[in-house]
Homo-oligomer: 409 residues x 2
């Protein structure tokens, strides 16, 4: 029998009834002879509620203390699950981040795991106990409580699975797997049986909110097989695994999109050495992450420069660029919040040419103008007008043959 | 300057506004040059809410896990207070039970403190930080979270004050001190400036819910001066201290009452060796605490036996005694839930005779029948009909001169 790690998200433990369902599932797997470690998130909405409470006090709550506050969310769910399991006659024990010896650095609110001492968990598993570990939290070297940032429970789960050499890390969520694209947008979206870590990384960073991106990186690094599945049904979900030969059958395995960015253009910028630095240094100093950059050279030593930033940073970035434009003598600063990034992703691209060409042709056929393009080894992204997002996703999904794959290809 | 320990109860931290008031008070004391350690309870109602949540799952929640759940209450308040203090520019740090190294035995839900390693707190105080410690919780030798039972935050506070050799342990609550009797019952009740540990113990055990009884025992053992006062006003409250010479000026310093008991009488019990054991052994085995016992010998080798039990245990105790009565051949079992215990308390009794006599005479003058009597060195208690409680308290309060003492005697 195997060691199975199961992680349940906030909607899966949102109330006592759902916690009961989780307990039943855990007991089934345990009774079949497996060892089970469960990682839980806080009940849906609880973490946001606690953050709001802190912000009633100040807009800049002390980070160490905010982590102490937030850690109560997962503490509540692990204790409730263990009370439930014990009441059903199944031996269980909860461990908080520090008790599970999940050691992190001291970056409160966005701590990184530096090590896990899994001896205690192994000992408890040896006693045939179900071990419920509070996700999202750890402790630093000094014993302070730390949290891992948004989606941190996924990271806790994968890290524990790696430390314990679990057979699989099952991520239970409110969707039943990873789809070729957003099923809400495209009725022909198909659930993928398998996806590679690299594809999942591109999907995650492009707005498919199934798995936390750092968790996927961690899984890739330690080769932890992830099984993304729904806690509301029995059906299998999607395996996120190392790239395999047969994955390359599909050239493109998914179409992702994101509406979280805005575009800024500086026109008629003097094309001189050092200008790019003057434009991007103040943006970087403000902690704003620039995603895509494109430069169109005009005649007469002038150039237009366009880049994208997260929509939430757009007002600040615009203000900064207006000052920059003045100082470098650019003509004007244009901004556009109504853009979307549409991407096709697939490890098969490595060995297939013509993917970019097909993508551009498909969009052109619908008269969708491409503003910016960026590519990686396994991804091509195009920025388009926001209003065409749904259309673009659907036509690309069809063009790359995803409409017609069977669910169990 | 001194080390001041302040403990705030649930009503004092019931919401963000009250936590702000607490922070302001703490900062005033700190700014005056004192070191301050703050112990907090959970927000009023939170602990009960968590218990209810657990009981939605089962009537017998796993005790270890229940403690993990309950510990979130104080974790929330200490982190919020520190966020508040830091936002006001005052360096502060929260410590949970295990971080403050409050070590207990493993009796989950009613753990006893076995030691406190105060080095960390001393170090933090040395950095001029305000240290906010979560009350009510500790850790056992294995690192499990434990809780100290009802009113446990008082115990945390006194134990920390003892370990740190604090100048005073201030207990902030929703009353402004210890009164000669319940002010809701007797408008002439006076706030005491000082009371001895022993008197406070008798007051606490007799239903004056100001201080947790184990906390007073602890304070007495380690000679920690307690200052009971209100968090809603500036005025000084009542000092609970070692007995001093001048305390004996008052023969009786308080009148307490309790309606929490019920009375059971077995009539015509054969007066033979071993009968008392047959009556009280099954009661003890059921975990029921008997308070007062009285036996009236009749003629012809028969006796009536009366005792009191907590009202919550009354139905179980009655059921047990009905079986017992049959097996020992007693005539019948009579029960009475409508009783009250009225007590006069004072260290001055030790050196003054006639207190009991005056108590009985005073009650008799009002035609209040005394059903049971018990005494200690500094206390006399009478069980009477419940309906006479208020009258009895008022006439005793007057008879022992408490109506006329000045507030600053």
């Amino acid at each position: 029998m195997a060691l199975i790690l199961q992680k349940y998200g906030g909607t899966s433990v949102a109330n006592i009834e759902r916690i009961r369902k989780v307990a039943e599932r855990v007991i089934r797997v345990h009774t079949a002879g497996n060892d089970v470690v469960v990682v839980l998130s806080a009940m849906a909405g609880v973490t946001d509620g606690l953050i709001q409470l802190a912000y009633q006090i100040t807009n800049d709550p002390n980070r160490r203390e905010l982590d102490v506050l937030l850690a109560t969310g997962e503490q509540t769910t692990v204790s409730l699950l263990c009370i439930m399991l014990e009441s059903m006659g199944c031996p269980a024990i909860s461990l908080l981040g520090y008790q599970a010896e999940i050691v992190t650095n001291t970056a409160f609110g966005r701590a990184r795991i530096v090590g896990i001492h899994a001896d205690r968990i192994k000992e408890l598993l040896g006693q045939r106990k179900i071990v419920a570990v509070a996700g999202f939290q750890g402790r630093d070297e000094q014993g302070n409580i730390t949290t891992l940032g948004r989606g941190g429970s996924d990271i806790s789960a994968v890290a524990l699975a790696a430390a314990l050499k679990a057979y699989v890390c099952e991520i239970y969520t409110d969707v039943d797997g990873v789809y070729t694209t957003d099923p809400n947008l495209c009725k022909n979206a198909k659930k993928l049986q398998k996806i590679s870590y690299d594809e999942m990384l591109e999907m995650a960073s492009l707005g498919a909110n199934v798995l936390q991106i750092r968790a996927v990186e961690f899984a890739k690094k330690f080769n932890v097989p992830i099984h993304v599945r729904s806690s509301f049904m029995e059906e299998e979900g999607t395996m996120v695994v190392e790239e395999e030969e047969d994955m390359e059958r599909l050239v493109v395995s998914g179409v992702a999109y994101s509406k979280d960015e805005a575009r800024i253009t500086l026109t008629r910028v003097p094309d001189q050495p050092g200008v790019a630095s003057k434009i991007f240094t103040p943006i970087a100093e403000a902690g704003i992450v620039v995603d895509m950059i494109i430069q169109n050279t005009r005649k007469s030593g002038l150039t237009d420069l366009t880049f994208t930033v997260p929509k939430s940073d757009y007002p600040r970035a615009m203000a900064i660029q207006k000052e920059v434009a003045e100082s470098i003598g650019a003509e004007q600063v244009l901004g556009d919040e109504y853009i979307a990034k549409v991407s096709v992703i697939g490890v098969g691209m490595r060995s297939h040419s013509g993917v970019a060409c097909k993508m551009f042709t498909t969009l052109a056929r619908e008269n969708i103008n491409i503003m910016l393009i960026s590519t990686s080894e396994i991804k091509i992204s195009c920025v388009i007008e926001e209003k065409y997002t749904e259309l673009a996703v659907r036509v690309l999904h069809n063009a790359f043959g995803l409409d017609s794959i069977s669910e169990n290809f």
